[in-house]
Symmetry: C3
Subunit: 168 residues, 3 copies
Amino acid sequence: MTDTRPIPTFDDEPASAGRKLCIICSKGSLDMAYPGLILANAALGEGIETHLFFTFWGYEIINKKTMAKLQFSPVGNPASHMPTAVSGLPGMQSMATRMMKAQIEALDVPAVPEFLDMIKDAGGHLWACRMSADMMKLTQDDLYERIDGVIGATEFIEISAGAQTLFV
Amino acid sequence: MTDTRPIPTFDDEPASAGRKLCIICSKGSLDMAYPGLILANAALGEGIETHLFFTFWGYEIINKKTMAKLQFSPVGNPASHMPTAVSGLPGMQSMATRMMKAQIEALDVPAVPEFLDMIKDAGGHLWACRMSADMMKLTQDDLYERIDGVIGATEFIEISAGAQTLFV
Amino acid sequence: MTDTRPIPTFDDEPASAGRKLCIICSKGSLDMAYPGLILANAALGEGIETHLFFTFWGYEIINKKTMAKLQFSPVGNPASHMPTAVSGLPGMQSMATRMMKAQIEALDVPAVPEFLDMIKDAGGHLWACRMSADMMKLTQDDLYERIDGVIGATEFIEISAGAQTLFV
């Protein structure tokens, strides 16, 4: 049998050839949704194969009912520089969320649903955790429609073979 | 000198050959204890060498006094969809914890101590952070008895050579 | 052309040759600032190329105004074993912070600014996230003076090629 494949010219090979990034998104707050999306977007721009795996609270990011309404809570986060007596007041979470959304928008960073569209358009893969779906009694119909699939932890382990992995 | 080793037959080699996963468990809440355990279990099922390193709040998972009583707090977690005025009320953490434990049990996911047994039975390695032990004035006697050892950050860095690493 | 380089003696090669560690520091609380610093320090001690990327709340660690005053909040952290009715009281965050700082000092672990100095002295690299700077309207003048640079997510993805990566 003759190998008829062209001789590879490694000079043309991008630095990212074969590089893979897998990000586990486990948080459901506005401030912790963005790091995974921003890193995925940057990786895709570099031609890196990119997978996002949404699990536990991260389901908020892909649940149709919640994905456009993620909230930021300053409670228990000393970096917000707001005492609990204030941050715990009724209405404070909505106000802090509105302020953060305005800051994000001012930087021309898209809202979460548009960001997911952008990641899919760039060739990114979005996976939902089956156990989380079972726990919350959700099906794929409840989720952002461009999810690649609902998979178990074992399938995620297989997908992430050879990848750089991040747990957000 | 003649190499007398058998010629390797790569066809028999599992995809996971030489693959290693190291998970740093730094959180002590019920909801953030499970992701590390579930991923470790899935990796072991795929024949991947797996190490868990418990540090800081993650000690709750291996401390005999706390490991069966991990709590979930909805406070400061907007994904819990509970206003702080409610989630901060006395008794609310216990109630939220009971509900989450019931959901986990309904999925046939074992409680934390049994999960650690399962990981050890499958060949997983459990390491406790020495600095955290010193900080909390705990010794190996205070910890789950099947811990492989209490080690420093340097030893963890050595163990994790060539591994995929996650910080939970 | 003759290759005049000395013949490499692989016996002298450290186990860490070519190993790289990149840690994303995204949290701004005292308890979550230390894991990244401690792991970076341990990796540098093993001769591993080490990069820290400060983003979102992680800016607290490199902001001159806040880096010496990181706080720990027991609110919403069940591992602190303090009911919200207590942990949310005025003055409780300062008290919990003072206690944790004393515990850290008792272990001869340096305060955050000294820890950054130590990491720089050992050859570590510190990067600040451009988007976070823009969001908080900060410039490099506002930051710890030994920061290597303010870079975008794309540059971080390039720096982290071939690295083990952690998201703290």
